[in-house]
Symmetry: C2
Subunit: 221 residues, 2 copies
């Protein structure tokens, strides 16, 4: 809780109040946390694993909004304004989350400006992310987006030397998140490998030339 992005900055006193209104949810891979249209019972903070938020079209195609990982939260909008979840939430892998009760957080929010501030900031963070997503597709090629993603994931793993990381979910999900066909994802990844930017073994990616990747990542199409 104190590590979460939403509430990380709060005083420990308030954190105690928060813990009171949380409970733990755990999901297996592929299980749904909620579906679009379900009545909200609160919002969620990922403790371990990954939750995929996506919309489904009438004909069944999917559009990933974001994959939330450790420390990230989602669904705040439903405690602040809406009463129904606006998208599907599905576990991409075995996942443990904290559920923050809707009534509880509303009550705390009325008393504490700090809490309100946290929630608003989260909303703005979500806005930002969607804008970035729009930009990414408008400005950058699939290859650039892939490079950006690799760099993003690689950050915070190892500072010096070749950093590497594990893809915490099916590659297909990543491809969907980057809005490219999974086949294209596969090909581009191979391409980057052959050009010596990365090394791939299974679901582990090792960054060999982050400078080179950065060049690709900023190349507009």
């Amino acid at each position: 809780m104190e590590q979460s992005k939403v509430f990380g900055a709060l005083r420990s006193e308030l954190l105690k109040d928060l813990v009171e209104i949380c409970d733990v949810v755990s999901l297996n891979k592929g299980e749904y946390l909620f579906r679009e249209g379900d009545v909200s019972s609160g919002f969620y903070i990922v403790h371990h694993g990954a939750i995929r938020l996506h919309k489904v079209s009438p004909e069944g195609s999917k559009q990933i909004l974001k994959i939330f990982r450790r420390r990230e939260s989602f669904g705040e909008s439903t405690v602040v304004s809406l009463s129904c979840y606006p998208a599907d939430a599905c576990a991409d892998c075995p996942t443990i989350l904290a559920r923050v009760d809707k009534m509880g957080i509303q009550k705390l929010g009325r008393k504490s400006e700090a809490i309100r501030q946290c929630l608003s900031s989260s909303l703005v963070r979500h806005l930002d992310h969607l804008v970035s997503k729009l930009e990414a597709r408008a400005f950058f090629s699939p290859e650039s987006r892939l490079a950006q993603w690799i760099l993003d994931e690689g950050i915070g793993e190892v500072v010096n030397g070749p950093s590497s990381f594990e893809i915490g979910c099916p590659k297909r999900s990543v491809a969907d998140e980057l809005e490219i066909a999974s086949e294209t994802f596969s090909r581009k990844l191979r391409n980057l490998r052959e050009r010596g930017y990365i090394r791939v073994s299974g679901s582990r990616i090792e960054i060999l030339d982050s400078e080179g990747l950065r060049v690709i990542a900023t190349k507009e199409h």
Copy 2:
């Protein structure tokens, strides 16, 4: 103010407080209200005209986030959390707006939950819109998006008989908003004309077969 989407539901008492902290801004076509990175002095409600919110990439391509028209508001996120505007705002035509002072609204927000509620709802509305935009591009072809747009614009003009409307801005802007090349826009429009769905004369579009358009509009790609 009482007609705005943000504050439309408020009691007249609070509305009075709000008027106190507003001032009027007017812009000519092409003038910028603010640029990305400018320090926020508040948020805005469109009273007349249209404001285009867009991001510019390092190399100069533009991505329209939304065109705001009468009654709509934008920039709320900067009074709630951020201190800088996250995008450019430019008048698409002569425009009059109300500026809601940042300090002022923050002060009112601390006192009134109703005000906070309004602001949060606006944020969520913006979130919704971005999600719709993502969906539109993910699920529908340029042709479908064009058809959707024509139907949207046609609504509210004439109920019975062939409805028609004037494009209130350069066609290029519409193409950008629909996220298609302006040449493609031109071609698709001609195509719809040749197939008898619409009639076009200059910047006026007349809908001949709204039922047919609806079929095209819902066809996913």
